[in-house]
């Protein structure tokens, strides 16, 4: 009976678990992948996961502040993507590959 109600009554916890799964996938992408662009895409995944939990909290606590924060997160994600891609393009121009190990050549 407990399992069925868990399946049928979708509440805050369901959205939180969805967000956590998405965040885990994103973080494992950041830790495991070697391609810089895929690493950045995994970061976008993590930001989206956090956005889901913000919006879910905003709905279930009747507080619109959560949605405002999502706005800010989206703006910062767009800015981060722009700068990150600019760096990646300059790395590609230099080494003809976008593997993460080329980052150590950036110093100096």
């Amino acid at each position: 009976m407990q399992e069925i109600s868990l399946l049928l009554a979708v509440g805050l916890n369901h959205y939180l678990i969805l967000s956590a799964i998405l965040f885990t996938i994103g973080l494992s992408g950041v830790l495991l992948r070697r391609n810089l662009i895929v690493v950045m895409m995994s970061i976008e995944l993590m930001l989206n996961a956090v956005n889901i939990s913000f919006v879910a909290f905003s709905k279930y606590n009747y507080n619109p502040e959560g949605q405002v924060i999502v706005f800010f997160v989206m703006t910062i994600a767009a800015a981060e993507a722009a700068v990150g891609l600019a760096i990646i393009v300059s790395i590609f121009k230099r080494f003809k590959e976008v593997n993460i190990r080329f980052f150590e050549h950036l110093k100096g």
Binding site: S28, L31, V38, V68, A81, S90, K93
Partner: protein
């Protein structure tokens, strides 16, 4: 089984399967296109949470601009397959995933223990009625959001504007310094 429930399970499938594909596929172009699918799914999840305006903004900003940049850059590079998709060390890799999973699980457990109240809404209670009223007046949602953004969070909004300007200048400077996509030298 109500429509919302079916929708939630369907959408969570649409969000999670492409998200896995982003990490697991070795062709970065497929990863990027899967990420677009995830973004669309997340927008739909926002819509089920009555954040209609945010859902639209998610579509415009993420799928319309950010991901287009990613896909364009990938296609310019024309990388077929990554020579070394994942980092070395199978054991450490599994340890990393397991560590992250445990952390996320603990986080969700802690949050759901701390916020028991909203998930215990009973059908027909005053709280449920209020929720239904809020869901029915979805159009007012945007107005409330705007008032919150422009009256209570004005400083943050202005700072974001300045940040975006700095980012725009910085990106142009970065891509021009040592030859961007249109190098002359």
């Amino acid at each position: 089984m109500s429509m919302d429930t079916v929708l939630f399970w369907f959408l969570s499938l649409i969000v999670i399967v492409p998200a896995l594909a982003v990490v697991l596929l070795s062709n970065p172009v497929y990863s990027a296109l899967s990420l677009v699918m995830t973004m669309v799914g997340v927008a739909a999840v926002f819509a089920t949470l009555n954040a209609y305006f945010l859902a639209g903004v998610q579509l415009i900003v993420y799928t319309g601009a950010v991901m287009v940049l990613f896909v364009m850059v990938l296609m310019l590079f024309d990388l077929k397959h990554d020579l070394q998709t994942f980092s070395r060390g199978k054991v450490s890799g599994f340890l990393k995933i397991a560590g992250v999973g445990v952390m996320a699980g603990l986080l969700v457990g802690a949050i759901s223990l701390a916020t028991k109240k909203p998930s215990l809404i009973v059908e027909g209670s005053p709280l449920a009625n209020e929720l239904a009223a809020a869901a029915a007046s979805g159009a007012d949602n945007t107005k409330i959001l705007a008032e919150n953004l422009f009256l209570r969070n004005m400083l943050g909004f202005e700072i974001l504007g300045v940040l975006l300007l700095v980012i725009a200048v910085g990106t142009v400077a970065l891509s021009r310094s040592k030859g961007g996509t249109h190098a002359r030298d």
